[in-house]
């Protein structure tokens, strides 16, 4: 091949390469810019709504000055608490079963169930919990909301815990058993403590996953403009307030919706930071 042909070929390949680089870099920059714009908009519009009464007062009817979303904050803490109380022990048991009984038919079935649960649209869970809990109790409740969220939280928590359980070296268990410890003691006394950070991370990821869930709460916790501390009664939550307020025609309520959105994003972000600080961060839910 003559030198000129080679240099023409070289030039063409170089141009193709430069074109491809542009094809990768430009859309990626658009994406990052757009995502930054969203975060900044939530931050700027949301921070403007923050005030003492925003955090300390319950919702007020339109026209009354002041008012906040304290009932939603308390409600969110209630449903998150119930969801964690239910899902953490169940997820632990499921993850222990999967790690100690792998290969069994039931373990394979359980794995399939957990994976499928992960893919269920959250609104479907809300509908089923309406049939299971709201109808028999004859009332919407924080309890129903918490149970609905726990089902959404379980797959995240279980898979994270399972991952860390499998990372604990098998020599730990062997050492315990060689000293005469029964199997359960090796699991609960040696393996679980060794995997403690990972388990806490799993719980954190689970909470971050459900904190902003709205759809499953619509037919379970339902919402409540007043402060409510009774788990058996309809309860508000921050995401429910955002949804309600943005549908209203009032400027003041729109601003509060942005404030609530900012608070929610901030909460999820802080949980993620805590997880990162507690150990190696995992990719977001």
């Amino acid at each position: 091949m003559a030198d000129e042909e080679l240099s023409i070929l070289h030039g063409r390949r170089r141009r193709k390469n430069a074109f491809f680089t542009a094809l990768v870099v430009i859309p990626a920059l658009i994406v990052l810019g757009l995502l930054a714009a969203i975060v900044i908009e939530v931050l700027v519009k949301g921070a403007g709504a923050f005030s003492a009464s925003f955090f300390l007062e319950a919702q007020k009817p339109f026209g009354d000055p002041g008012g906040g979303i304290a009932n939603g904050i308390i409600g969110t803490l209630m449903v998150l608490g119930i969801a964690s109380l239910v899902s953490v022990p169940l997820s632990l048991a499921a993850a222990l079963y999967l790690s100690e009984r792998k290969g069994r038919a039931l373990a394979r079935l359980l794995r399939l169930v957990i994976d499928s649960l992960q893919g269920i649209p959250s609104i479907v869970i809300g509908v089923v919990m309406y049939a299971w809990i709201v109808i028999p109790m004859k009332s919407f409740s924080a309890f129903a909301g918490g149970i609905a969220l726990s089902l959404i939280m379980i797959p995240t928590v279980t898979t994270t815990i399972l991952e860390v359980l499998l990372l604990v070296p098998s020599s730990f268990r062997e050492a315990a058993i060689s000293l005469g410890a029964p199997h359960w003691r090796a699991s609960l006394g040696i393996i679980l403590p060794a995997a403690k950070t990972g388990i806490l991370n799993g719980v954190g990821l689970g909470i971050a996953r459900i904190a902003g869930e709205t759809a499953p709460l619509l037919f379970t916790a339902f919402g409540n403009p007043f402060m409510n501390l009774n788990a058996g009664k309809p309860t508000s939550a921050i995401p429910l307030i955002i949804y309600d307020y943005i549908k209203s025609p009032y400027q003041d309520w729109h601003q509060k919706a942005w404030g609530a959105a900012f608070l929610l994003v901030l909460f999820v972000f802080l949980v993620n930071v805590l997880i990162g600080a507690g150990g190696k961060g995992k990719k977001g839910a």
Binding site: R13, I114, V127, W184, A261, V265
Partner: protein
């Protein structure tokens, strides 16, 4: 406590999960009995949804769900691939890459209702302008707005999936390609992407599964009209958004039963998509270990 009891408890929990899951599906079937029995398959193909005359057809919502999800997927695919390739192949361990990763993870965890809020203030006015220019009724909300926001919502997920699977490509392959004189482009297109193509396919399916079941943002942006969408600018509804907007206001048991059946249809669609996605992942990682 002894080992027998310990394993008894664990097995009990495992059985509980399986029973719970079976119960979930059975509940949807049992509660949609009223419409399942009376209209059968006609429910799926029915075009009219009228709670007053008790006529329930799901086709407009099935179309709304598929339309918004596939348009969103088509929009987000090139952007997600570009972002994933940039972070997985070009700026892998630099400060920029780390910051971008944290940022993308943050966006993946922003709740759907917040994306809906953002869409109402940022995307809807933009779509309104386009609609005015195109000479169609300027609702702002509708199929297009929902698809755009859905696309933005799945970009963080799909780009981090792409980045993660690219991590599995052995560096020796990359170095080999570069040592043979390949350009960056030839290396990415000829070596890295073919190596991870099934992983990317799985990521696309899992992203689709998310888009199909996405509720709040779509409910806020689609206009909630119970008719078949005829164009990009139509207002409409998805399976999830009908349930979200009508379930609490259901006037009759038949109406509620119809929505239970919508939930069942939605569940089945997402099952198939997610199952396919997971199968691809299992197959590709299994094949690689066997190599």
């Amino acid at each position: 406590m002894n080992d027998k009891r310990y394993f008894g408890i664990l097995t009990g929990a495992a059985i509980l999960f399986v029973a719970l899951f079976a119960g979930l599906i059975l509940t949807l079937v049992a509660n949609s009995a009223a419409t399942l029995g009376s209209s059968g398959l006609g429910f799926i193909s029915g075009l009219e949804w009228n709670p007053v005359t008790l006529k329930f057809g799901a086709w407009p919502f099935i179309m709304g769900t598929l339309l918004t999800s596939f348009i969103a997927l088509a929009i987000s695919l090139p952007f997600s691939l570009a972002t994933g390739i940039l972070l997985g192949e070009y700026v892998r361990s630099s400060f920029v890459a780390k910051t971008a990763n944290i940022f993308i993870n943050l966006l993946a965890s922003i709740p759907s209702v917040v994306y809906g809020l953002w869409g109402l203030t940022a995307v809807v006015p933009l779509v309104q302008k386009i609609e005015t220019a195109a000479g169609v009724p300027a609702y702002g909300v509708g199929i297009l707005s929902s698809s755009l926001v859905l696309a933005i919502m799945i970009i963080p997920f799909m780009s981090s999936m792409t980045r993660e699977v690219l991590k599995n490509v052995p560096d020796s392959l990359r170095h080999g390609a570069l040592a043979l004189g390949a350009t960056r482009r030839e290396m990415v297109l000829g070596v890295s992407l073919p190596y991870v193509k099934s992983g990317i396919a799985a990521g696309v399916l899992l992203a689709l599964g998310r888009a199909l079941g996405e509720t709040m943002a779509v409910t806020m942006l689609i206009g909630n009209a119970t008719r078949l969408p005829s164009s990009l600018f139509s207002i409409g509804n998805t399976l999830a958004s009908v349930i979200a907007s009508q379930f609490n206001e259901a006037e009759s048991d038949v109406h509620r039963s119809a929505m239970m059946e919508l939930a069942l249809i939605l569940l089945l669609i997402t099952f198939v998509i997610n199952f396919a996605g997971r199968k691809i992942i299992e197959k590709s990682s299994g094949g690689r270990n066997g190599r």
